[in-house]
């Protein structure tokens, strides 16, 4: 390599010129916004004039959300409950579905592999607005889904208008609880201003429709990731296991799954990050209804600022959400690390050059 200082100097200038547009755009529209938002979250800015001229109010906005009983706290708690159920259901289901579809498609002598792969992946590249439009149509009271449920004698709910929590529905169906007179120890105590009775309601029927939508839409992307990783599983190991008389399930458990661990980790991480940010679907299905059972922190943050003009609170919710995502990712990282029993033979191909 040439090491003349003149060339190096020119290269340095060229380097900065090359990188300048990206640095300016990201600095101006990503870094600067974060700094402004940090300020707004501790100010009383009301949406008029420059936020820099607003008054400093300390942790008031955060207190209103996390400590002080009131509507702000109740809304945040409700949105956290809703999103928690969403995450707990979407992440495992979409991961298992993606792995399942990828495993089937990875079979050697399969015809029409390309067709099926395309079919499963296509929703992932489609606009969320278009998808929600179709789902709103399919999940109406007398819609497609309920007609199909009708074939097997199930009277389907009025999906997007049904605020009933499914866990509570199931328990009252089994006569374990009476929804009209809930046990006092559950209604009198709570967390973040929301009674345990409400925390434990389960996702509402409306939220379940959104959960189905999320699994249906994003399963394909993760399927592709698993499919790519499956092609990296060494054939000779699989063959050796077959010759040794291992059953398919044994091979899957002790050869395939360990080899997929890095991808599994990635899929769960991306799933966690994505599901905690759910916004488009919430906005498009009516902004948190019915009965606030599809309200999520991301949407609450938006509506606090843009609909209620509580900019400080909106920004504060965004940072709380950010913190949740960071904590969840760290927890998941720790859990997955502990469970790792086999040495990692293969790393994700490109990640080696990341630093």
């Amino acid at each position: 390599m040439s090491t003349k200082s003149g060339i190096r100097g020119r290269e340095g200038l060229a380097g900065w010129l090359f990188i300048a547009p990206v640095v300016i755009i990201l600095g101006l529209f990503l870094l600067l916004p974060i700094l402004v938002a940090i300020w707004v979250s501790v100010s009383d800015w009301g949406g008029k004039g420059s936020p820099l001229g607003a008054g400093y109010v300390g942790a008031t906005n955060y207190e209103a959300l996390l400590v002080k009983p009131g509507l702000a706290q109740l809304n945040l708690a409700t949105s956290l409950r809703n999103n928690l159920y969403y995450v707990i259901l979407v992440v495992p289901i979409q991961t298992v579905l993606a792995l399942f579809l990828a495993t089937i498609l990875n079979a050697r002598r399969l015809k029409g592999k390309g067709f099926f792969r395309t079919a499963f992946y296509f929703p992932s590249v489609t606009s969320s607005v278009a998808i929600v439009t179709v789902f709103l149509f399919m999940f109406t009271g007398a819609g497609v889904v309920n007609q199909i449920l009708g074939w097997v004698g199930i009277h389907g709910p009025n999906w997007f208008n049904d605020p009933r929590g499914v866990l509570r529905l199931a328990l009252s169906e089994l006569n374990l609880v009476n929804p009209d007179s809930p046990p006092g120890w559950l209604t009198n105590h709570g967390f973040l201003g929301l009674a345990w009775w409400d925390w434990l309601s389960g996702p509402s029927v409306a939220m379940c429709a959104l959960i189905i939508l999320a699994v249906w839409t994003t399963g394909g992307t993760f399927m592709l990731m698993f499919l790519a990783a499956l092609q990296d599983v060494p054939d000779d190991v699989l063959e050796a296991a077959t010759v040794d008389g291992a059953t398919r399930w044994q091979i899957f458990r002790s050869v395939t799954l360990p080899a997929l661990r890095p991808t599994l980790f990635l899929v769960i991480t991306l799933g966690l990050i994505g599901t905690w940010q759910v916004f488009d679907q919430i906005y498009l299905t009516g902004g948190g209804g019915p009965g606030k059972t599809t309200l999520t922190p991301a949407y609450l943050s938006y509506s606090a600022a843009f609909n209620d003009f509580k900019w400080g609170q909106g920004a504060a919710i965004a940072f709380i959400l950010f913190a949740i995502i960071v904590v969840m990712t760290i927890i998941q990282r720790l859990v997955m690390r502990e469970r790792r029993t086999l040495p990692r033979r293969r790393r994700f191909p490109v990640s080696g050059g990341a630093r």
Binding site: F18, I25, F116, Y121, T133
Partner: protein
């Protein structure tokens, strides 16, 4: 390869006639089951789109009464496509095209420049910028909606085409994809051109970029798809109906500010039309999408 793997198990089993037959039977059952499962899932994934298409040619009453039927009772566009003119659909479409075009051009150019600099050029602060790019990818986009709006207003870019386009013209993931690609290709060609006296930009423009074709195509497609489907950013970056893109425009249809009835044929027709460009790009450049999906995976 497959013949070599198929022969060995058969040889030792030859003396027992019942064993292979049972095995064959099991294999057939498994094959049938596999295809059955695949076909059921394919239906779950494709049928909603068929319904979307069919309902775009139905009357509102027909769509409501026979939502499952893939064939309209009477083919009509009276309550769907014909009504789109009344909701300024062509304006939304034009806006989407303009925005997606400029965003894509900007992203491909700026991201490649930056990716090349980070992969090849030596300059002070390169490591720091590299770290910053990776860190930026980890910031969840949705939490930035309010702050982005605030900055747009401060810069007097709110509710303008500039405000909708310029902030999207660079993205960290794209820079990362390009950088990874440039690292992976051999440096010799560039060295040779450099000795011939080509300046850094000429070298980049006429030697490096043509070599990077697959990565450039991947990035073009991802950028187009991303900006065409972008919704939440345009929700906060503009307020006037004239600047509606397809996503925000169709969203305003969903919130149902207009007319009586559920208007499903109209909404589904609009959703269908906004899906068609992505579908075409997807089917033509499928393998680049797949490459992009695994490249985007590096994000985590």
């Amino acid at each position: 390869m497959s013949t070599a793997t198929a022969t060995p198990p058969r040889a030792p089993l030859a003396p027992l006639p019942t064993e292979p037959r049972r095995r064959l039977g099991r294999r057939i059952t498994r094959t049938v089951l596999t295809y059955l499962v695949l076909v059921i899932f394919a239906l779950i994934y494709i049928y909603p789109f068929l319904i979307e298409i069919a309902s775009s040619f139905k009357t509102g009453a027909d769509a409501t009464a026979h939502p499952l039927s893939p064939i309209p009772q009477t083919w009509t566009t009276e309550e769907s496509f014909s009504k789109l003119a009344g909701v300024d659909f062509s304006r939304w479409f034009t806006n989407s095209v303009v925005v997606a075009l400029f965003v894509t051009l900007g992203r491909v150019f700026f991201d490649s420049l930056a990716g090349y600099a980070l992969a090849r050029l030596h300059f002070l602060g390169r490591r720091a910028i590299n770290g910053a790019i990776v860190a930026v990818m980890a910031v969840p986009g949705v939490v930035l909606l309010i702050p982005k709006y605030l900055v747009l207003v401060q810069l007097h870019m709110y509710d303008t085409y500039y405000g909708m386009i310029i902030p999207l013209m660079a993205d960290a993931a794209g820079v990362f994809i390009m950088r990874q690609f440039f690292i992976s290709i051999p440096v010799e060609v560039e060295e040779a051109a450099r000795i011939d006296g080509a300046g850094t930009f000429r070298l980049f423009w006429s030697v490096v970029l043509p070599m990077a074709r697959p990565a450039v195509i991947t990035l073009t497609i991802l950028s187009f798809q991303g900006s065409w489907n972008e919704f939440s950013y345009f929700l906060v970056a503009r307020g006037s109906p004239q600047l509606n893109t397809l996503t925000t425009g169709v969203a305003s249809l969903l919130s149902g500010q207009l007319g009586a009835g559920n208007q499903f044929p109209l909404k589904l027709a609009a959703a269908l039309l906004m899906t068609i460009p992505t579908a075409i790009v997807f089917f033509v450049f499928q393998r680049y999408f797949i490459r992009g999906a695994s490249a985007g995976a590096v994000k985590g």
